[in-house]
Amino acid sequence: MKKLEKGFTIFLFLLPALLLFIGILIAPIAVSVYRSLYDWDGFSKATFIGLENYKELFTSGSIKFTVSLKNALILAFFSVFVQLPFALFLALLLGRKVKAERSFLSIFFMPVLISTVVIGQLWLKIYNPDYGLLNRFLDLVHLGNLKHVWVGEVETALGSIIVPTIWQYVGYHMLLMYAGVKGVSLDLREAAMLDGATKWQVDRYVVIPIIKPIIRVSVIFAVTGSLKAYDLVRILTEGGPFKTTEVPSTLLEEMLFLRNRYGMGSTISVMLIILCFAFALAITAAFKDREA
């Protein structure tokens, strides 16, 4: 009896969380998996088509899922190999007791707090072909031939999305890494320096190995974040020109609102979940391998 009561109390404590979590996340995912096997416009009767949606997703020329995936992976690539190294570099610099360390840290973190919609609007003002800062700057330094309709040309549109995305979250990764760098004991650093190591060697052989778990978290966030990208694409290019900058999430929205293809929308959702988990696991495994 006592045990039953305890079990019931535990259940009650967990109830609000479970209701939210299962109701808003787990159950809808189950429904998505189920719906992804159907051809369904949201109103009339759905027809079971097995894995046809998945097949169409990867083979159809009109849905552009492969393009969207490629874009997300390009974004992930720049995140991992440009944004994170720079963030690590800043974190290591700030970890060396520079003057005004806290002020620099606070300023570098600031863009993270600003809504991506606001960031997107600001960059639209920078990219504007006629009055934007970028083109006017190019005019000023007599490089007018480098001017572009930045978000409107196929060659520059994706880059115009990548630059602000990377810029905005450098501070986030820097903060995480800085917290790790600060956690490395001074004795350890000093011991290494007494052995004749330079500062960069200390960073390379003492600090970085210690903060590896944090770097792993950063890599996971950077990659899954790129797969989930939506805001800046919606604001800056709307997936254009000619659908060259679509990402999975903008396609998902298109399936719902422009094409009424709820089955296919669900398929994209499921693919996103699979990709996020697959990358998270693969990155964790890659880091384990190296440690061994």
Partner: protein
């Protein structure tokens, strides 16, 4: 007086750097100059958008498009703010964002506190498993549930309400809230629960009378994190809210910029209205805010 100040200024750094030999002071001057140049340039790059946003929010088109692109406004046009508030409806969007954010945070914190208590301070067999289950939310993208929720809500005519956003937002911040809560709750000595039990407190009384009051520091950490997630969320708000009465700031700004394509001033004003409250809080609570991000990520 003057001299005293000077002395203090001189002494302070010496004292600060004494303890540690491992400082930039010892590197060669070239490296030092390079380091600071780089830090200052990056700081300027990060401050510039805020300066740019603020100054063009006070300019007329003639100034923005003319000679005074990035300078201080020659004529401070506060009327841009009135048009953003009145014609652009920014006041309304601001209040909407506030309502949605506060309600979502409250629900998320409440559910997280209760769940964390059951997970960390009551002993039962499957608690670890349950914890990992709830932590799945850290990896699951919110896009995962958007289709079924949209279908359900549109069938139930539940789009375009505050609760349309409040409930999903509280669910999406839940896993992180629990994670942060756990960090704080395991630090509370377990002896407290023991002595409460000896005094005849049940689990509920222990939770409300002993644990909750001690969780106050956790609340701000969770609150800050959840606030930023909800205040800036764009995808759900964009998909689920189509009427202007319930738009939150990010969706509102997008609508406004669509309406004012040729007049940049009011758009700038809208951006400032959406951003500066957060920055103001950040100036006073920068450490706390940074800590809440670290707490959220480092243990994950």
């Amino acid at each position: 007086m003057e001299e005293k100040k000077k002395m203090k200024k001189k002494e302070a750094p010496v004292y600060e750097y004494q303890e540690i030999e491992y400082t930039i002071k010892q590197t060669n001057p070239v490296a030092k100059v390079l380091t600071y140049t780089l830090l200052v340039i990056w700081a300027l790059i990060n401050l510039f958008p805020i300066y740019f946003m603020f100054t063009f929010s006070l300019k007329s088109n003639e100034e923005i498009f003319g000679a005074n692109v990035i300078g201080i406004p020659r004529e401070w046009r506060w009327s841009n703010y009135t048009s953003a508030m009145n014609t652009g409806n920014m006041g309304r969007y601001f209040v909407n964002s506030l309502i949605v954010t506060i309600a979502a945070i409250a629900i998320s914190i409440f559910a997280a506190l209760m769940a964390t208590y059951a997970l960390t301070r009551i002993k039962w067999r499957a608690s670890k498993l349950m914890n990992s289950f709830l932590m799945l939310g850290l990896t699951i993208p919110i896009q995962a549930s958007i289709v079924p929720i949209y279908v359900l809500l549109s069938r139930a005519h539940w789009l375009n309400k505050y609760s349309t956003l409040i409930i999903p937002y509280s669910a999406f911040t839940l896993s992180m809230s629990i994670l942060i809560c756990t960090g704080f709750m395991v630090d509370i000595p377990y002896d407290l629960d023991e002595s409460a039990r000896i005094d005849g407190c049940g689990l509920w009384r222990t939770f409300f009378a002993i644990i909750l009051p001690l969780m106050k520091p956790a609340l701000s950490t969770i609150g800050i994190y959840a606030y930023l997630q909800c205040w800036n969320e764009f995808m759900f708000a964009n998909v689920f809210i189509s009427d202007s009465a319930h738009r939150t700031l990010p969706v509102g700004i997008r609508a406004l910029s669509g309406a004012y394509t040729t007049d940049w001033g009011p758009i700038g004003a809208a951006l400032v209205i959406a951003t500066f409250p957060t920055l103001l809080v950040y100036i006073f609570l920068s450490r706390r805010i940074q800590e809440s991000f670290i707490a959220g990520a480092v243990k994950g």
